[in-house]
Symmetry: D2
Subunit: 346 residues, 4 copies
Amino acid sequence: MRKNTPPERVRVSILGASGYSGQELLSRLTGHPGAEIVHAFAQASAGTRVDDLIPSLKGRTELVLEPFSIESAAQCDAAFVALPSGEALEAVPRLLEKDVTVIDLGGDFRLKDASVYERYYGRRHPAPELLERAVYGLTEWNRRAIAGADLIANPGCYPTSVLLPLLPLLKEAIIDAESISVSSMSGVSGAGRSATLELAFAEVNESVRAYKVGVHQHLPEMSAYCRAFSGVPTTLNFVAHLLPITRGIYSTMFARLKREHDVSALAATFERYYGNEPFVRLLDGRVPEIKHVRNTNRVDIGFTVDLATQQVTVLAAIDNLVKGASGQAIQNFNVRYGFSESEGLA
Amino acid sequence: MRKNTPPERVRVSILGASGYSGQELLSRLTGHPGAEIVHAFAQASAGTRVDDLIPSLKGRTELVLEPFSIESAAQCDAAFVALPSGEALEAVPRLLEKDVTVIDLGGDFRLKDASVYERYYGRRHPAPELLERAVYGLTEWNRRAIAGADLIANPGCYPTSVLLPLLPLLKEAIIDAESISVSSMSGVSGAGRSATLELAFAEVNESVRAYKVGVHQHLPEMSAYCRAFSGVPTTLNFVAHLLPITRGIYSTMFARLKREHDVSALAATFERYYGNEPFVRLLDGRVPEIKHVRNTNRVDIGFTVDLATQQVTVLAAIDNLVKGASGQAIQNFNVRYGFSESEGLA
Amino acid sequence: MRKNTPPERVRVSILGASGYSGQELLSRLTGHPGAEIVHAFAQASAGTRVDDLIPSLKGRTELVLEPFSIESAAQCDAAFVALPSGEALEAVPRLLEKDVTVIDLGGDFRLKDASVYERYYGRRHPAPELLERAVYGLTEWNRRAIAGADLIANPGCYPTSVLLPLLPLLKEAIIDAESISVSSMSGVSGAGRSATLELAFAEVNESVRAYKVGVHQHLPEMSAYCRAFSGVPTTLNFVAHLLPITRGIYSTMFARLKREHDVSALAATFERYYGNEPFVRLLDGRVPEIKHVRNTNRVDIGFTVDLATQQVTVLAAIDNLVKGASGQAIQNFNVRYGFSESEGLA
Amino acid sequence: MRKNTPPERVRVSILGASGYSGQELLSRLTGHPGAEIVHAFAQASAGTRVDDLIPSLKGRTELVLEPFSIESAAQCDAAFVALPSGEALEAVPRLLEKDVTVIDLGGDFRLKDASVYERYYGRRHPAPELLERAVYGLTEWNRRAIAGADLIANPGCYPTSVLLPLLPLLKEAIIDAESISVSSMSGVSGAGRSATLELAFAEVNESVRAYKVGVHQHLPEMSAYCRAFSGVPTTLNFVAHLLPITRGIYSTMFARLKREHDVSALAATFERYYGNEPFVRLLDGRVPEIKHVRNTNRVDIGFTVDLATQQVTVLAAIDNLVKGASGQAIQNFNVRYGFSESEGLA
């Protein structure tokens, strides 16, 4: 059962505070008038002052990273869980037991089907009943459920960049749901803050490569929520690429029109869905660029139609650590606790 | 009429020698035992020593960049034309008149249809009869014609990375020619060596953007030669992206299988076409990486099949300045003059 | 004569608003409660909406870039001049005539000696009387004068990174003023937003080079203000390097100790000068990193002493576009108009 | 005792073949007419085909990486040891016992003084007698000794970039040996191929930092060989910086002139020492750039004199993996076995 009357300032903890998403949460929540970070948990870096980890917080926080303790976490109203997939499986049920509202940034509670989880994440799911209970945190499409949730599964970075542009086109039956191909490119921070040869500068720099082709765990997430939000069963082809940049995702989507639809009709459709959304920018005849969304919670969406071939191309850019992770998590926190949706995200 | 008995060393000139492709030609042809660079033409940098432009040539050349003169060029057997598209239109006919064999690295003589040229290049073609005469220099698919050509139109960088992987699949009717989507990413050198704000470091770095969506001049080139070499009319969707790396192209291609075909059948097909090709590497179950083809004339090709959705994903990486430009030009030069195809390309 | 009672919100214009420093000013002043940007001047991009140039300002500004007009500028209390050196020479006197307070981010009014200006900037100074009148805007060392100035010459990016760490050591006679060598490295944005081959991505990437060795215009600026603020005539050796990053300056300084002084004595000296400064961070036993100052107005200073050789090494990092340009300009604006010094700089 | 009559092709093994220097050795020695790579040792990657590790060797080698065995190594005439410092301590004595000539690319045998080794490398040296026996492989300054050596200690990357430019100036008593300050910047590959958070792309990219200030193990190496080759005891200040590039070192050196010496006198001195050296390029009035030495075995040297302050500034660029490691190792191999010094280095 969740706490019904949030205090003036919601007391929060962050699990995985030293990772890239964790640092982004620390930076943004420190300035959030409705949140008080009470505990910042991080195993390997426990003992480090937060303002040593993030020098721009100098003078704004006295927090010190500490090892996780459920007792400490239980003192808070909410927990942001920014752990690698798998590690949240143990922490989240314990937090829920203590009536702590959970916003999980990882992949452990996004899928509804435990067998799909097992296939793509390579482990059995120990708490399949929580899969049902979790609310998928694609803010623009799921506000009502998020407002009442005690377990919010924040969307993956790639799915965020793909679902937002595709859902209006699927829901309006503008594109053929069997014909969608997605080529996405991500900066290196998307892979987390860890010591691996694959992510070493000299290995990544001046190169590009696809990875996890056909087996990426974000693929079933995209298909499932295309269907869940649009009502249309959807088949996606998806290739993720690793780019030599720190932050940002760029998704290029190809689909076939189901019926005649020119670019201004498309623009009108997008406008109808997103015209009032503070974090969606529709680009009329221009292309998104990663640099324009860096450090923002915005998705930039561009689109073109080739009338001869009846094909539509949709382009989207986000910052994987903001709209693709911590920003959207705060957006969901704002929805859940009744703050202005832009709080902490300007 | 072309010269029939090439001298022991073919005398060549390079037009546009100070650009990135021009420099690559200078470096590689300097070590080519069958080529003698007699003139290196470059307008703006005329007067510069070649070994000042390219310090690694110190001690290996005494060439000085000079302004173009048809008289000087006419002293040579062959000319490599590495000018921006449009500028070759004037030079090439004059070279041909002087019986100089031309290998044009630009886009002015690749298309067969002058009206398509006009639409995509934004100018009328002044010598449409040469479009017919030009031989498309996709070496692996056009050796016989290249060997007898006096005007070789070297393929574009994107088309090279797309045609080589797709042609066997189209020719063998393995994929549906109406269902192909291509997402390509290129390093900045592909845009040439020029002073523009769009290509400034601070504009390109830490970003990605699509460009020329739906209007890229390489699109009709790909469609035309998919059909020309496979016999199958082909519709392609194509989006090019600019990456913050210096060299390299990565192309990710999506297509639908026309008939059941698993990954080993696919591997066998590719092996049949390319098993003996020195510059094609087939990756069994691995993905290409740009760093593995950098500074080489090789295309690396990877592929997967999703049997459930009957989709094939093909990945290809090349160095845009080598296999995508100067390397393939030298490969064609070798074919044309009877040298070993790898000469100057190791 | 300057306006004595600033209005509640100071009305400002920005000259050179489309450059990197200009954009930084636009972004930061838009959120500044004491400033109202009334005009954003930019020649080449006139007509562009500011929120198209800087998408993160969407919804926060209706400004459109316009060509410079002295009449428009004269409607404002203050002008930020972010023009390339040389171009400010014409605008600044006209602004002063109209009683507009000027904060010039360029180099045209920093030096006191017109003959030195002529030698290093390669042109005669048309208004040497303004050199005398200008107040050098090194905030931490010149607050009183800045508060009363009508022409503030904002320091160069390199001098900011060098003067702040060296001045306490010179003033306290800790280091030998004849023995100082400075090796500085700057990101590409320091060279401005312009279309030049030298700054093209493919020319800058994966390389480093020194430039303007012995003739850099920031050298006399550093020497002059070392002397002006410390009272000690100073000789500096200085080499600037261009780095393949977008933002940031790193300065490494070598000097000989004049008297025994260990690292904790040094720390105490720095602490005495800068312990209460909001934009100076002293690193005890750690080294600065550019990423830690990026997008901040802070200078991070590290230092070590080699007692055997009596040498001190000082390291400093700043963001060239913030503390090295627009941030310090706003800091000076805050001092000048009596706002909290951190306003617009968090 | 070393083998006296080398076979036509020297049989060599490489220890640490999968690292960056090891890969560079594999690539270059594969094309070396006087070397036959018989064994390529690598622990973690044992079992990997060399042409999978380095695709450009496809068709040119059948080697497979194998775990180190002294019996296999003993079948060879020479061993290139490209192990991290420390790991060579065990292997090298065993190789020498088997009469295998050793070229060690690491730091374990460079210093003559075991106590200095202990201070800077943090461990006792187990075979101090080998420190005496080792010949320092700064090719241009030590050819005679190298030709007769059975243990060649290849110089560090930073010392190579510093000693080559400074030695003529020290030997000719042109600069004050007490006044030298060196600021060096290195690409990430200099830190080796390893999985550490510090070298992760997202940590290194868009940043610069000094490291090991005052305690870098290359500092005593530089001082010792400044003295050894010039005869003049030398005190150096040295700061190393990590740059966001893959390859390359840039060293900027400051020193005081001991006697009047203008830039053309300096040029004459350098010319006298290096005019005939194939791997030294003297830049008259221009600055070195890392991109111009990348993938070459060359050092590019630039220099200026400020007559007013009697200061000289010297700039040098090398590729840390070639002249700073594997290239110079091969150059030494060529000297040792009587091959042309440029073999394998073009």
